[in-house]
């Protein structure tokens, strides 16, 4: 949900922020690095890098095991990270935060654990055409295993979800699995409306919030979903750590996903009992340093202020879409909702008939990093009638000069493909 504040959020000081990201100082092809692929993975500020380095330099030991001091300190840091994440997204308690490897793992955890326990062949799962494969393939696989039905919300021509038949589509469903922010189109589906409709129909709601939590103030109590998965590396944190949030009673009912150490209470020859939530879902040694790094990323984002982060993203996205249209007019196609609609900081585009791979190569020559391809959203690509797009995506360290570099470089493709 968007935070509604009366005062305008303070503008980000991007020049100062850039200095916190050492990688932005490097040159590519003799040009300054213009990193516009944060939807794939964001860069990391020094406080995150230093927190992890400091942890390894001073504190590392396995968690929840040793009685010695550094083991206790490591455990405290790991659990403090959980509490920080819980507070950051408005979870009711730290125990609702399960550390995963990434957003994909969190969704697979729900499909495997909740899905295999709860779904019968007559049941229905609803997802959408605009999903990342991470929130699509688990439901395809579950359908193969459980024989349940799968329904889809469709893409509307304006780049939003077609919700005209929402009540009908979710009717009788057990689960609605939907993106909170499209990784290709930047679409921000109306979460409250989706959650209310699903709940009215008796369905639970899972949100793929990988592109949402990093950029938009998140209050899970206000959104009201049942499962929310997101990842650390897209929100200035390290790779290898993600979060699955779920309401506590759901986590308690669900069987373990991965099994082994850490998730166990007792093991006998005739069976086992599992640990309490959330540790029941954290088999094996968890990503400790990564959790510490992610907590530092949360500190960094909170210091900027998520309302300011969101305002920056909106303004820069609108600036980019308008600049691209102004320079290239009908030669450029921008996908997704209009610039003045609710939108995440993601701009997918096609330029003339230049293939996205070739565009990305041309942009790389100018030091501009964008993603090219199907963005792990092949059903959506088929809806759009394209095999691939180029995608620029923004984070707190991007400014209008970065967008200008993109806009200037796109036209260079004419030299080769014009």
């Amino acid at each position: 949900m968007e935070m509604t504040t009366t005062a305008a959020p303070q503008a980000l000081n991007v020049a100062a922020i850039k200095k916190d990201f050492p990688i932005l100082e490097r040159l590519v092809n003799g040009k300054r690095l213009v990193y516009l692929d944060s939807a794939a993975s964001s860069q990391k500020p020094l406080p995150v890098i230093e927190a992890m380095s400091h942890y390894y330099t001073t504190t590392h030991a396995n968690v929840h095991r040793g009685v010695y001091q550094i083991a206790q300190e490591a455990t405290e840091l790991y659990e403090a990270a959980r509490a920080k994440l819980a507070h950051f997204v408005g979870a009711a308690a730290p125990e609702e935060i399960v550390f995963t490897k990434n957003a994909t793992e969190g969704i697979n955890l729900v499909a495997y654990s909740w899905g295999r326990q709860k779904l019968a062949p007559q049941d229905v799962v609803v997802t959408t055409e605009i999903e990342h494969h991470a929130n699509f393939v688990p439901w395809l696989q579950l359908r193969e295993q459980r024989g349940n039905a799968l329904r889809f919300l469709r893409l509307a021509p304006d780049g939003r979800l077609d919700l005209d038949d929402l009540a009908q589509v979710v009717s009788g469903a057990k689960l609605l699995a939907v993106t909170a922010a499209s990784n290709v189109l930047g679409t921000l589906p109306p979460l409250r409306q989706l959650v209310d409709s699903a709940h009215e129909a008796g369905a639970l709601v899972l949100l793929d919030a990988a592109q949402y939590v990093p950029h938009i103030p998140t209050d899970l109590r206000e959104i009201g979903a049942d499962f929310v998965s997101f990842t650390g590396h897209k929100m200035l944190g390290p790779t290898g750590v993600g979060v699955l949030w779920a309401r506590r009673e759901l986590l308690e009912e669900m069987p373990a996903f991965l099994t082994g150490g850490e998730m166990i209470r007792d093991v006998r020859l005739d069976g086992f009992t599992t640990n309490d939530v959330p540790w029941k879902f954290e088999a094996g040694t968890p990503p400790i340093a990564e959790a510490v790094g992610l907590a530092a990323a949360v500190d960094y984002l909170e210091a900027l202020g998520m309302a300011s982060v969101r305002a920056h993203s909106r303004a820069l996205t609108r600036y980019a879409m308008e600049a691209l249209k102004e320079r290239y007019g009908a030669s450029i196609t921008l996908y997704g909702p209009r610039p003045d609609d609710e939108r995440a900081g993601i701009v997918s585009f096609s330029y003339k008939d230049v293939h996205a791979h070739d565009m990305s190569q041309v942009l790389d020559e100018a030091g501009v990093c964008v993603r090219a391809g199907h963005h792990c959203a092949k059903p959506l690509m088929r809806c759009l009638g394209v095999s691939s797009t180029a995608r620029a995506s923004f984070s707190v360290y991007n400014d209008e000069a970065d967008v200008d570099a993109l806009v200037d470089a796109i036209g260079q493709a004419d030299k080769l493909f014009g």
């Binding site: 003799g30 791979h357 070739d358 090219a372």
Partner: protein, 175 residues
């Protein structure tokens, strides 16, 4: 750092703008093989019409992709059309050798004589291999620059994988 001109040679852009042997053949009787690049979503379909004498009478390529994958497919079609299956295999071997710098190689379907991906197997040895096999790489040599852009090697090799699959089928059909 190699520049764009190493990648986008004029001959490559010409094949991209004016692809040779573009289209489809009725299948059957033509053999049809599909190739996908899961990284970027590119796809290519190769149609082969083989005469009773084992000569590739006709060959068409359809699908869509970037300039490198499309031009490579076009060059490939020109290089093997009218050739025997054995000559087509030899051309694939020579092309594989050219693309195997940095230990990259064509894997997956195809003949058992794939390039081994020896790290020291460079473009020169590819030309030598081609000469030994009596193959003229011709336009294909323009694709040598692709090996300097490792991410794009898969673009260049997509249609060749697909051709190798189609040849596998052709040989099964003939045997």
């Amino acid at each position: 750092m190699p520049g764009l001109e190493d990648l986008y040679r004029e001959i490559i852009l010409d094949h991209y703008r004016n692809p040779r042997n573009r289209g489809e053949l009725e299948s059957p009787p033509a053999l049809r093989a599909e190739g996908f690049n899961p990284l970027c979503g590119d796809e290519v379909v190769v149609y082969l019409a083989i005469g009773p004498d084992g000569v590739i009478k006709d060959l068409k390529v359809s699908g869509q992709g970037c300039s490198i994958s499309q031009s490579s497919a076009s060059m490939m079609s020109a290089a093997v059309k009218g050739k025997t299956l054995a000559q087509a295999r030899a051309t694939i071997r020579a092309f594989r050798a050219m693309m195997s710098l940095h230990g990259q190689q064509l894997d997956g379907a195809g003949d058992g004589a794939a390039a081994t991906g020896e790290p020291d197997e460079d473009a020169r040895s590819a030309s030598e291999l081609a000469a030994e096999e009596g193959i003229a790489l011709g336009d294909l040599e323009a694709l040598q620059g692709v090996v300097k852009f490792p991410v794009r090697i898969k673009c260049a090799t997509l249609s060749w994988h697909t051709l190798a699959q189609a040849l596998d089928e052709a040989e099964r059909a003939l045997s």
